[in-house]
């Protein structure tokens, strides 16, 4: 095994393990589902499984960006799924005039028009989600509740609130311009990809071009010593949770636009879990500290590549859960120091022969 300097550097980079996992998945696809790589052009839009991965994985990638920051501060946000539902419910309600119990005919409901201007809808969506994030942040930073419990409250109550907003209805959206976020195309690529890029750039500028990123890492490593070195550890946490709520609201916008409806009970279900998985697959430690948003996005892509691969080779959607669990467990075990130590020891003994990881 040749080990050049560059390879070594790459091997210790954050992106190495996620990229390895993605490569293995794609190699698997190349053998068992060659059609996975087909990319065609239809009506001037690119289509194909790889594009689908990017498009379907976009909401998850956005949530994963926010989740990375929260996890980097040593916390966790369980409420993103509920935030997605709240923000989607907000959008659906503002489009359809189904507030209250007044009688509305079917014609009004299914008309291709909106009650509120589109810009206002988007703003309301984002405001609702950001507000939820702010609430989480206040509970964690000011009231000092453990992150898991603080966000659990919104996770339990949030879907209830979303149903309250939609009055318990599954709201279908008939307003065409709203669909653009989830189904539109710019230069042949889905709009959602651009939204991911936009959110990533915003986050990257905020985190890496100001000192906020450093503060977040320092809070994650030791929140008390951060406090003593004069950094407002409260506000850093507040920022992370608020930003996570913001990301959740955008994911809610894309998702509701993608499926043309808002089912407060099911939209964004288990997204908090998938987002945490993306972050963990991306190699950010749950204990907090150093983080990488790019590798979290890669983690989200791995999850969706895997999902779509399983669909392609014809595994029923529900049984996918078990396969996903095994995949992630293997990846996480590969990350754990114990197993890595074992592999390294075996590797030096046998000169790098292939090693089964359990």
């Amino acid at each position: 095994m040749k080990k050049s300097n560059l390879f070594d550097k790459f091997r210790h980079s954050r992106l190495f393990w996620p990229l390895m996992a993605l490569t293995i998945l794609l190699i698997f696809d190349a053998f068992y589902a060659p059609s996975f790589f087909k990319i065609g052009v239809l009506n001037g839009h690119l289509y194909g499984n790889l594009i689908d991965v990017l498009n379907d994985g976009a909401p998850l990638a956005i949530v994963a960006i926010g989740m990375t920051l929260v996890i980097a501060t040593g916390g966790v946000d369980l409420s993103v799924g509920a935030v997605i539902a709240i923000s989607a419910a907000m959008g659906a309600v503002l489009i359809n005039p189904a507030l209250g119990n007044q009688l509305i005919t079917n014609d009004i409901l299914t008309a291709d028009r909106t009650n509120t201007p589109l810009g206002l809808i988007v703003l309301a969506d984002i405001a609702a989600g950001t507000l939820c994030g702010l609430w989480n942040g206040l509970l964690v930073s000011r009231v000092r509740i453990q992150p898991m419990v603080a966000t659990l409250i919104l996770m339990v109550a949030g879907r209830g609130i979303a149903q309250l907003i939609t009055n318990g209805q599954i709201m279908t959206i008939y307003y065409t311009p709203y669909f653009w976020f989830g189904n539109g195309f710019i230069l042949g690529l889905p709009v959602s990809i651009y939204i991911v890029a936009l959110v990533f750039v915003i986050a990257w500028l905020l985190v890496r071009k100001t000192s906020i990123g450093l503060f977040i890492e320092s809070v994650g490593i030791n929140s008390r010593s951060t406090h003593y070195s004069g950094i407002s550890e409260k506000n850093v946490k507040l920022f992370a949770y608020t930003f996570c709520g913001f990301c959740g609201s955008i994911a809610g916008l894309i998702l509701s636009s993608y499926v043309h409806s808002c089912d407060a009970n099911n939209i964004g279900l288990a997204y908090e879990l998938d987002a945490i998985l993306s972050v963990v697959i991306g190699g950010t430690l749950m204990a907090g500290g150093r983080f990488s948003m790019a590798s979290s996005i890669l983690g989200a892509m791995i999850i969706w590549t895997f999902t779509l691969t399983m669909y392609t080779i014809g595994i029923p959607a529900n049984t996918l859960l078990a396969a996903k669990a095994v995949l992630v467990m293997v990846v996480i075990l590969l990350y754990s120091d114990q197993v890595r130590g074992l592999i390294n020891r075996l590797g030096t003994k046998k000169g790098g022969s292939n090693v089964e990881s359990n």
């Binding site: 409250i153 879990l273 945490i276 078990a322």
Partner: protein, 328 residues
């Protein structure tokens, strides 16, 4: 004397408050809906929430030892499906039940092993365990499987009369839940295992330095939680006489909420099983109020549980602050 009472209040304040809230809440509900004053309605709480109580007991142990187990509800669903499928294959029901328990225990122990030995976050491991169990349940059957076995039917419909209350009854599985509950109180308070559990939850390092068997205890705690969830699954399949992978979709969260409402701290080391019982009862009361009202929609359950959890956390923090002041 007064100091003693004060100390007792500080130590058991959250528990007493939980009980108080339940009693007052139930009393108020009884005034609004007179039907709720019937003893049968009260005992229905034990019938409807037997599985939740079992899961919450296991969860209490895990949380006290500073962990979390998100796989309980999925384990319950897997148990219902697996037992229904096995019954369909004409396996003796008395073989199935121990088999299910063994499955739960071994799966829990396996999770505990990964958490303890390979140092992976409990949160992540049990989350994966939850996905795995649900997936397995779907692999066994994508649709709901009905149970027609006479033994299961008779066990599921076996009424146990409450002495002193006339015709008031609970089902057999509620009695099982209560027995496990009593056993859990004993285990937590009076066994070496239980005390080690509290020690680990307070400070793992000092527990290790004291020479306590940290690894074994933690694995056992998760095994116990697995046992409770598969027992809960058996109770669930007896109650509904069917098995389905989608049963109890968010029950792990209900269990955690009940544990928190019962005064157990999620940071570990503090809490008890009695509080958990009242947490479960509060949860059940909210649901029955919604049923009695009839016009309120189901989402108020979620909002109600969320608000109550917040309230209880606030109370816990007040008591903690009080305790700290006392100590200093």
């Amino acid at each position: 004397m007064w100091n003693r009472i004060k100390l007792f209040l500080l130590n058991n304040g959250t528990l007493l408050f939980t009980i108080l809230i339940f009693v007052v809440g139930y009393f108020i509900c009884g005034r609004i809906y007179p039907a709720m004053q019937k003893p049968q309605v009260f005992f229905n709480l034990f019938i409807n929430n037997a599985s939740l109580l079992l899961l919450a007991i296991g969860m209490t142990f895990v949380v006290i030892s500073n962990g979390i187990d998100l796989s309980v509800a999925s384990m319950l669903a897997l148990t219902t499906v697996a037992s229904a499928a096995l019954l369909k294959a004409n396996v003796n029901p008395y073989v199935i039940m121990p088999l299910m328990l063994v499955m739960g225990i071994s799966f829990g122990a396996f999770q505990g092993f990964i958490i303890q030995r390979l140092k992976v976050e409990a949160f992540v491991v049990t989350l994966m365990g939850s996905f795995f169990c649900r997936g397995m349940a779907y692999i066994i059957s994508l649709t709901s499987v009905t149970i027609t076995d006479p033994v299961y039917k008779s066990l599921g419909l076996q009424k146990v009369l409450i002495p002193g209350f006339g015709k008031t009854y609970v089902y057999l599985y509620s009695v099982v839940a209560i027995i496990v509950f009593l056993a859990a109180i004993y285990i937590a308070k009076y066994t070496r295992f239980g005390r080690t559990m509290y020690a680990i939850g307070n400070n793992e390092q000092s527990a290790r330095l004291m020479g306590l068997p940290v690894e074994r205890t933690r694995i056992l705690v998760y095994a116990f939680s697995g046992f409770c969830s598969s027992l809960g699954g058996i109770a669930f399949s007896l109650a509904l006489l069917s098995g389905y992978g989608q049963y109890a979709p968010t029950m792990e969260m209900d269990a955690i909420a009940s544990v928190v409402m019962g005064g157990t701290l999620l940071t570990g080391g503090v809490g008890n099983v009695i509080g958990t019982l009242f947490g479960v009862l509060i949860n059940g009361t909210i649901v029955s109020v919604l049923q009695f009202n009839g016009t309120l929609s189901s989402w108020w359950t979620r909002i109600g549980v969320g608000v109550l959890t917040l309230l209880f956390i606030g109370i816990q923090m007040l008591f903690q602050l009080g305790g700290k002041k006392k100590a200093s």
